[in-house]
Symmetry: C2
């Protein structure tokens, strides 16, 4: 199970009912959050996200539209009497802001809170069913993208075959991990005779804020779903580059060259009321593109 729910798809200035960046990642056993712009805790209520299941929050960078909702959310967790641990990952300076705001409010965390400063690309979190890695993006200030990968899934037992070969259920977990079976009499039963492959482990990449950057291509190669920002439409390529942002066509080009299965686009500038043009421009290059629509969950 891997799915992405969009809570905000707008860039810095709120406009046309759109909100700053935040996404909820649903995995088999818990929820994660990628970025937490102002008002995210209200969007969580609007879309009935079970906030108590959010255990890991990842912040890409310290522009306000990506984290101004974080301390409010933590504060609400504190007031609601949360007890399970919470992990926040982000640029090292983020903890100074959190601590200063809690300090001035004379508030403390009633739950175990761990801040993980991001200092280099690589593995950030090794969960039971998935991992989260980070990679740098090219933005005006330090900025990180994130990749969630489901762990390789166990092979499926074919019940009638294990019965046929008299394999005891105590050996099933080894079979699920791909091992062959050797009977007490010394007979080898090849794994592929008694199991089948499970569904493929899925992956999602959140490319944060970035200018057009071909270094991303290798990093996100073959991923199932990627989110790539498109602050501007194609005619504004120069402005996009100046501001370390991307256009619709640039996002689509990255998706195409990375051989990903599907692209969702967001972080739209407040100058655009209608968003169809973003989708149209991107689909000319990469047809499997959708607008990252607030409230919509993209199953992977």
């Amino acid at each position: 199970m891997l799915a992405v729910t969009i809570l905000g798809n707008n860039s810095a200035i709120p406009a046309f009912g759109r909100h700053p960046t935040s996404q909820i990642i649903t995995t088999a056993d818990e929820l994660m959050m990628f970025d937490c712009g102002e008002g995210t805790q209200i969007q969580i209520l609007n879309y009935r996200i079970r906030r108590s299941r959010i255990n890991h929050i990842f912040i890409s960078h310290l522009h306000g539209d990506h984290y101004f909702g974080l301390v409010g959310l933590l504060n609400s967790f504190a007031l609601l009497g949360r007890i399970q641990p919470l992990h926040v990952y982000g640029p090292a300076d983020l903890i100074k802001i959190i601590e200063m705001q809690f300090d001035f409010a004379d508030t403390t965390f009633p739950f175990e809170f761990t801040f993980h400063p991001i200092t280099k690309a690589g593995l950030l979190h090794d969960g039971k069913h998935y991992t989260v890695e980070c990679f740098p993006t090219q933005h005006r200030i330090e900025c990180w993208g994130f990749i969630v990968r489901e762990k390789k899934k166990l092979r499926k037992i074919i019940a009638e075959k294990t019965k046929q070969y008299n394999i005891p259920s105590t050996s099933f977990s080894k079979l699920q991990q791909g091992e062959d079976y050797v009977s007490p009499e010394g007979t080898l039963i090849k794994n592929e005779f008694v199991t089948t492959e499970n569904t493929k482990a899925k992956s999602y990449a959140f490319c944060a804020d970035t200018k057009y950057d071909e270094a991303l291509i290798d990093i996100i190669k073959d991923i199932d779903l990627i989110y790539h920002e498109t602050t501007y439409t194609a005619p504004f390529a120069e402005k996009a580059a100046e501001r370390f942002h991307s256009t619709s066509k640039q996002a689509a080009t990255i998706a195409l060259k990375s051989n990903v299965k599907k692209l969702i686009i967001g972080h739209f500038s407040a100058k655009f009321e209608q968003l169809d043009i973003f989708e149209e421009e991107a689909r000319e290059i990469f047809p499997e593109t959708d607008i990252a629509t607030e409230g919509v969950t993209y199953l992977i």
Copy 2:
């Protein structure tokens, strides 16, 4: 002209579509803001407030539900290319938060920004048509209430009378200020023969977060409209006191004893979905009580 528009009437945890504290004060020549909880800039859009006319923002205290929207609003002002000066007033530590967040985002103010730390009760701002004073309230951390007073209005000239007494228009501004007129021949014309009183100068008090505190009575005496928090209904008086908050009946008692004309109540706890009970309880003591409803403008 003095009016109050409610942008948020809820306490710390957003609930039931209600938002954290923020109010817009409309005066004859500009807008002010009292508190700026998370999401205030979105409420400003929802209620079509002309954000460019907001020149003075007053923050009562450093609990997040009263200021977490401020840096986002300042940031949007910066991105929108605001040029006119902006003044922010609040507890001294607030500037550290603002500066840290702008610093990490590598952003600067393109407009003249002045922070006024509040250190003692008294006059904060002397505008052309009104003044703003602050007073301390009894809360868990340093907290300030605010009073806006329209300046005394000029007396109205009675045109036919000035004609009758041959008073030249060059003397009108002195008449408006209440002075008598002396003709070139030395005849004294008493001011009240040729002018009438203007409408009374209006006043509004925002009592911020506070526990029941009779020290407020003298401070807000005879004011036209007051906002007083009512985090809890009457049966929760003990919890209210513990948390330095007030109940419906306590707010109404303060209004009654202060001889104010009208009371609006807000800062409702997220435990209450229905708000009628707050109004009912308060009106038993002070009938001129209304719920401070989001989006509603209270003309004074």
